[in-house]
Symmetry: C3
Subunit: 343 residues, 3 copies
C-alpha cells in the first residue's frame, strides 16, 4: 500500500547522471537520468513503447534518451521524437513520465496526479545544509515492506536491546536495570505525528558514550516527527552536566515492491564536525554495519516470519505509542486516497 | 499431509543447547532450546508475539528466552513474562509451545493435542543403547516430500540397482541375473506394517561383502517394521556358512514442508564394534556419501518430476508390497485424523 | 503457445549419444538417446512409469533404457519390457515416445499426432552440406519466450543500433545518418513469410567490413524466409564494386517453456572457407559473444519487462513489416490448430 500524491525519495543526487539507471519505485520500473543539455532530472517508465526494451540500456542524447534496440528516441516528457528510417511518429507513441526534483541531496519522485504536484510536501531538512553540522548519506536496500522499516525507526525502544552493544544501553532489562523508566508521549498535529521519549540516568555503550563525549550516565531524549508517506526525522539529544550532543536522523523509506524497499538515511551531527571522533567516514562505516547487520537483518526476518505465520496481528506494548499513532494516521490517509498498489 | 497426535524427530540430542536454534517441523517454524537452569527441552513458535521477530535470534535467560528486538521475555510454556518499561503483561500475550522429549539420542516433538501426549508412541530402539552394538547418527535434509523418502526406504528392491556398486548386488538384472528370485511378504498388525524379503545366493558388491565378512554368496534378509507417522526400522541380516551380521537401520522422516523433509538415520551394527572395518567414522562417511549422492539425488529428482508431470499415478510392481501396505495404512490414518496440513 | 504437428529442433546431432540426456522441449521433459545397437534416435518422456524417476539418470542397454532406480527397462517406443523379479509386465506400463529424426546436423522432434509425421516439413538447408561453404553450429539457451527471440531475428533493423559497434553500422541514427533510407518489402506465399530489405551506401563497422573484404560503403541486402513453427533463414549479401559476400543464417527457435527457449544458429559463409578471416573458430567466438551479450541480454530484458509491465502491446514501426506479417501468419496457424500449450 502506498500513498497517492506524495514525494518518494528515489536516489541520492550523486547517483543520477547522464548514464541512465534503472530503479523500481513504488512498484514502477523506471529509468532515471540527468539531461545532458539542461541538467534536468528525468524519470520515465523503463520501457520503449516499440517493443518494451528497457530504456535504461540506452543512451542519453542531449535531453533525450535513445533506445539501444532500434534507435527510437524519447524526450524528457516520455514522447517519442524519432524512429529511424521513418518520416514521422504518431503522438500516441509515448511512455509515462514522473515529476522529479532534487532537494536536500536526494532525488524525489512524485507519485500521483501531475496537476497536484506540490514541492512544499517534501520534508524540511535544513540541517543538511548547515555549515556547523555534518551530514552523511547512506542508502540501504531492504528485503521487507517499507512499513516494517519505518516501524523499526519509529520505535526507538529497540535501541537498548537490538543495539545493546553498539548505539544503546541495557536500560529496561529484566531483573537488571528495570529501574530506568521511560517517559513517552505521542500526538498528531496538522497531519504529522510527533513523539517525545526521555530516559534518565542511562549508562551508554562505548560507541554512544564516545559520541556523547562523556562516561557518565546521560539523559537521552528522542524527538520524533513523522510525515507521510513515511518520512521520519528523529532528533536525538544526549546530555549531562559534562556535555550535550545532538544527532538528526532523517529516514526516508520508499517501497520497491510489497516486500522490499529503499531506505535512505541522512545522519547529521553537531559535534566533531571538523575534527575528532567520529569522522564522516566513521559514521558511514558504523551506521552501515550496525543498521545492515542489526536492523535490516531483523526487519527482513520479521518479513519472512509475517509471510510464514500468515501475518499475525502485532501486540503493541506501552513503548509503541508513536508506532500506534502513525499506523492510525496511515489508515486515515489510505481511507482518503483509497490506496495505490505498490506493485 | 501429516498425522495428528504423533511424535516427530526434530533434531539429534547433540544439536539442542542453550543457544536457541530455528527448525521448521511439519510446516511450523519453531525455536528449540535447552533451558539453562532446568535443562528441559523447550519448543516454541519462532516468533515474538510483539512484532513477529524470530525468537531464535534471542538469548536464553534461565529457563526463559528473551527476544533480541525489544527485550520481551517468554517462558518455556510460551507465556510472556516481561516487557521492558512496563509494569505488567496481559496473560493473552503468548505463543504456542510444543511438548518436547529426548529419547534414543533424538529430540521428539508432539504435534497434536497437548492432552493426548503419549510417550509410548515413540518407537523402541533399544539397540542404540546396547554395549555390544554401535550406533551412528546421521541427519539429512531432503528436498522432497517425506513420503518419497519413506517409499525409498520401504522398498529395499532398489538396493540392487541404485546401489549396485555400493550396498547392493546385480540380482534381478535383465538377461543377467534374473534367476535370483526374491521372496517377499508384507502384513499389518496392531497399526504397524511389517515386511520380510529374502534373496538367496546373492553375490555382494565389495562394500557389502566387507561388512558381511565373506566373499561367498549370502542369503540377504530384510525385516521391515513401519509405525506412524513414518518411522521405519529395517533389520538387515546377511549370512552364509562363513558368517552372519546384522544391521539395524532406524529411519525417521519428519516433514519440513510439502516438498522437503528432515531425515534422521541411526545405523547400528553388531560387528566390528570395537575394532576392524567399519569404524563409526567409516559408517558415517560411507552412509552420508551413498545416501546423499544416490538416494537423496533420486528422491529429489522424483519430486521435481512429480511437479513437472502433474503428479502422475505410480505403477507398483510385485516388489512394492510393503510400500503398498504402508500407503493403505496411511490412507486409513488420514481418514481417522482427517489430516493436518504440513504448511 | 506452440504449433501442433511441426518439427522442433531439440539438439545438435553431436549432442545425442548412448549417454541419455534430459531436455525440456515445448514444455515436455524428455530423455533423448541414441540406441546402442541400431543407432536410431529415441525421445521419451523423462520419467519411469513405476515411480517417476528420471530415465535420463539411467543407462542405455542395447536399444532400450534401464531406469537406475529399480531396473525397469523401456524400449524405444516407451514400452516397459522388463521388471526385475517379475515374470511379466502389463502392456499399459509405458511412457510417451516422440518421433525423432536427424537432418542438417540437428535432431528434430515431432510434436503432434504420430500419424501425421511428415519429414518434408523440416526446412531445407542444403548450404550446410555444400563443400564450397562452411557452417558453424551454435546453441544458445535464452530466458525468454521463443517468439521474442524470433522477433529479434526477423527484424534486422536492430543491427544498426544494438550491434552498432560489431555487425552493424550507424545508418538511420537521429541527426547523424538519417539520409540512409531502407527499402523494405514483406509478403506471404504458400504458408511461408518472405522479406527483402536493402540499405545502400552503408558504412560498415570494422568486423562487418572485414567479412565483406572492403573498406568502402556497401549495399546490404537481407533476404528473409520464415516457416512455421519458427524457422528463419536469412541470406545476408554485402556487396560493392570491390567484393560480394553471402552469409546464410539459419535460426531455429524451440520453446523450453513459456519464458525460455533453445536457439540453434547455423552460420554459413561462402568466403574464407579454407583460409583467411574468419575461421570457423572466429565465427563461433564472435557470434557467441555478440549474440550472447547483445541479443540475448536484450530479449531477456524484454521478457522481464513484459512481465513487470503486464504485457503492454507493442507499437510496430515501418521497419517491422516482416515481424507484422509473421505475427499475422502465426495467428492464422493458431486458429487452425487451436494452439498447444507449451507447458
Amino acid at each position: 500500500m502506498i500513498h497517492a500524491n506524495r514525494w518518494y525519495a528515489a536516489a541520492t543526487a550523486a547517483e543520477i547522471s547522464t548514464q541512465p539507471t534503472e530503479h523500481v519505485i513504488c512498484g514502477r520500473p523506471l529509468v532515471l537520468y540527468r539531461a545532458a543539455s539542461s541538467g534536468k532530472l528525468v524519470a520515465l517508465e523503463n520501457r520503449c513503447p516499440h517493443r518494451q526494451a528497457p530504456l535504461s540500456m540506452g543512451t542519453v542524447v542531449g535531453d533525450d534518451i535513445m533506445c539501444i534496440y532500434h534507435g527510437w528516441v524519447m524526450n524528457g516528457a516520455g514522447q517519442c521524437v524519432h524512429v529511424p528510417h521513418q518520416d514521422s511518429v504518431a503522438p500516441s507513441v509515448r511512455v509515462d513520465a514522473y515529476p522529479a526534483v532534487q532537494k536536500w541531496g536526494l532525488v524525489w519522485l512524485w507519485i500521483g496526479d501531475a496537476d497536484k504536484v506540490d514541492e512544499t510536501l517534501i520534508p524540511d531538512m535544513p540541517w543538511t545544509e548547515d555549515a556547523n553540522q555534518s551530514s552523511v548519506f547512506i542508502r540501504f536496500h531492504v528485503g521487507a515492506n517499507y512499513q516494517l522499516m519505518a516501524d523499526n525507526l519509529l520505535d526507538v525502544s529497540h535501541s537498548d536491546f537490538l543495539h545493546a552493544s553498539t548505539f544503546g544501553s541495557h536500560a529496561g532489562r529484566k531483573a537488571e536495570t528495570e529501574h530506568v523508566k521511560a517517559e513517552l508521549d505521542a500526538w498528531s498535529e496538522d497531519g504529522a505525528v510527533y513523539g517525545l521519549r526521555t530516559l534518565r540516568d542511562v549508562v551508554l555503550s562505548p560507541m554512544a558514550a564516545a559520541w556523547a563525549g562523556t562516561d557518565k550516565p546521560v539523559t537521552r531524549t528522542h524527538k520524533t516527527c513523522w510525515t507521510p508517506p513515511n518520512n521520519i526525522n528523529i532528533e536525538l539529544i544526549m546530555e549531562n552536566d559534562e556535555n550535550k550532543v545532538t544527532i538528526h536522523h532523517d529516514h526516508l523509506m520508499t517501497p520497491e515492491n510489497e516486500t522490499s524497499c529503499h531506505y535512505f538515511l541522512i545522519w547529521t551531527r553537531d559535534f566533531s564536525v571538523h575534527s575528532g571522533y567520529p569522522t564522516d567516514e566513521d559514521v558511514r562505516r558504523e551506521q552501515s554495519t550496525v543498521i545492515g547487520t542489526e536492523d535490516i537483518s531483523m526487519v527482513e526476518a520479521q518479513q519472512r516470519n509475517k509471510i510464514q505465520f500468515g501475518d499475525p496481528a502485532d501486540i503493541p506494548g506501552a513503548a509503541d505509542k508513536i508506532v500506534v499513532a502513525v499506523h492510525k494516521r496511515i489508515a486515515e490517509l489510505q481511507n482518503e486516497d483509497q490506496g495505490l498498489s505498490a506493485t
